[in-house]
Symmetry: C2
Subunit: 264 residues, 2 copies
């Protein structure tokens, strides 16, 4: 079992099969390295135009990997043969903004009018930062990356609106520049930072008190560097309270067949 989950030998399809068979339910961080992982958002067709427009207008927090046809659970572009109803480790089901279920399979919730969106995730750019020798404090300290609601309002689209949510990684100014160079190559994984330095400038009162995730150590000489985060669309959904919605549970991403280096 431990051998089977050795990240370095697992293809995206292998990972999805392990997840489908409930042998992997935890975070997908580090699994199938080199392949894009995705946030899952499912809304009814009646909310799909507004949500697609919200993503289009806010591409840094909501980079679109694939939008499926209404009723289709198969991501034919990014993972042909996969099934979004079974191939995510854990889901959250919402009715009018209230969570009503947290299943490992959404076949019983599936409907012919549901539209699934796969949005890019920061795991891909973190992998590139790691390969470049840049520190990832939350990984070193085995914490969930700290995330903050900012004073930057997203561009509204119909019912969907809300603040830009960012993740924070402490870096020296020179490492921050190198990280910007590297992450800019991954526009489908949130791209370059949206801010660096003074947290107050984007409405963050205290970098040691994140709104989501856990605080990490800031060392002398480091500045906080902020990237757009896919909690942003989740916050927009929480504001809009559509009649029905499904997302992945935190950290349980959908693993695609798209090589991170091929994304452009």
């Amino acid at each position: 079992m431990a051998d089977q989950l050795d990240a370095t030998i697992q293809s995206p399809r292998d990972v999805r099969m392990e997840i489908r068979n409930d042998r992997v339910q935890g975070s997908t961080s580090g699994l199938a390295p080199g392949y894009l992982q995705a946030n899952l958002v499912v809304v009814p067709e009646s909310a799909a135009f507004d949500f697609l427009l919200f993503c289009h207008r806010n591409p840094k927090p909501c980079p679109i990997l694939e939008v499926l046809d209404a009723g289709s659970p198969e991501p034919r572009v990014t993972a042909p043969g996969a099934d979004l109803r079974t191939d995510v480790g854990r889901y959250r089901v919402f009715e009018h903004g209230q969570q009503v279920d947290e299943p490992t399979d959404i076949r019983r919730w599936w409907r012919s009018d549901l539209v699934a969106f796969l949005l890019g995730c920061s795991f891909s750019f973190e992998d590139a930062m790691r390969r470049a020798g840049l520190p990832l404090r939350h990984v070193e300290e085995r914490r969930t990356v700290p995330m903050f609601r900012t004073s930057i309002e997203c561009a509204r689209a119909g019912q969907f609106h809300g603040p830009l949510v960012v993740s924070m990684r402490p870096l020296t100014p020179m490492d921050a520049i190198r990280a910007a160079e590297i992450t800019a190559r991954y526009p489908l994984a949130h791209g370059a930072p949206v801010h660096a330095g003074d947290p107050g400038a984007i409405g963050i009162a205290d970098v040691n008190r994140p709104d989501y995730g856990e605080a990490v150590t800031m060392r002398p000489g480091e500045i906080p560097v902020f990237w757009a985060c896919a909690v942003t669309p989740q916050a927009a959904i929480a504001n809009a309270r559509p009649p029905f919605a499904i997302t992945h549970a935190p950290g349980r991403m959908f693993v695609t067949d798209v090589r991170a280096e091929h994304e452009a």
Copy 2:
């Protein structure tokens, strides 16, 4: 009048005012150089999700500059203060795929459920090619660029489907490479070529018999170079025959305030 229309001294706003006041009704090619021009497509909200998804799935022929809120005629991102109902030189109005009007103003056709899309146009990359000293045969020969329906099917989105339509410019192989380098910088103006060389490989029987526009001279040593073209979404609309649609008339683009060099 001729002085006022000197392209080099006209701002995008000036050009739009001339158009709004019916002092310019012809092609916008060469006006407000350095600024992105846009194809206009307007569909009812009921078709807007499918059309937005069609554009997202086919970004080379349908690069999205801006999608407006339902009912809004003001492109607040790309041309604040402009009015899409008056600031295009000539429009085409369709009911169930049939053209029913070709007005210079669409205020009487406007409805609160209409969603306007602004899609990138090749004028911007042609301007960059010209500045790089690359030949534009159709400009030299004062013809409309030759365009062809290809055997490449677009990725379907709901009711919208159809062939990729391409424009063709003859170039030597070395100029073709230089043109690819340059136009790749303009993803919002169709980006790099989709094909070069053998027309038959993409279903074109005869480069001297275009499906739209006019044939141009191919000189010895030149190959045909093909770019994705915004006639593609128009062909998809012709196939889908939505109950209502409005587009610009050929060559009469909407002039935005976005500098072509700032697009990325």
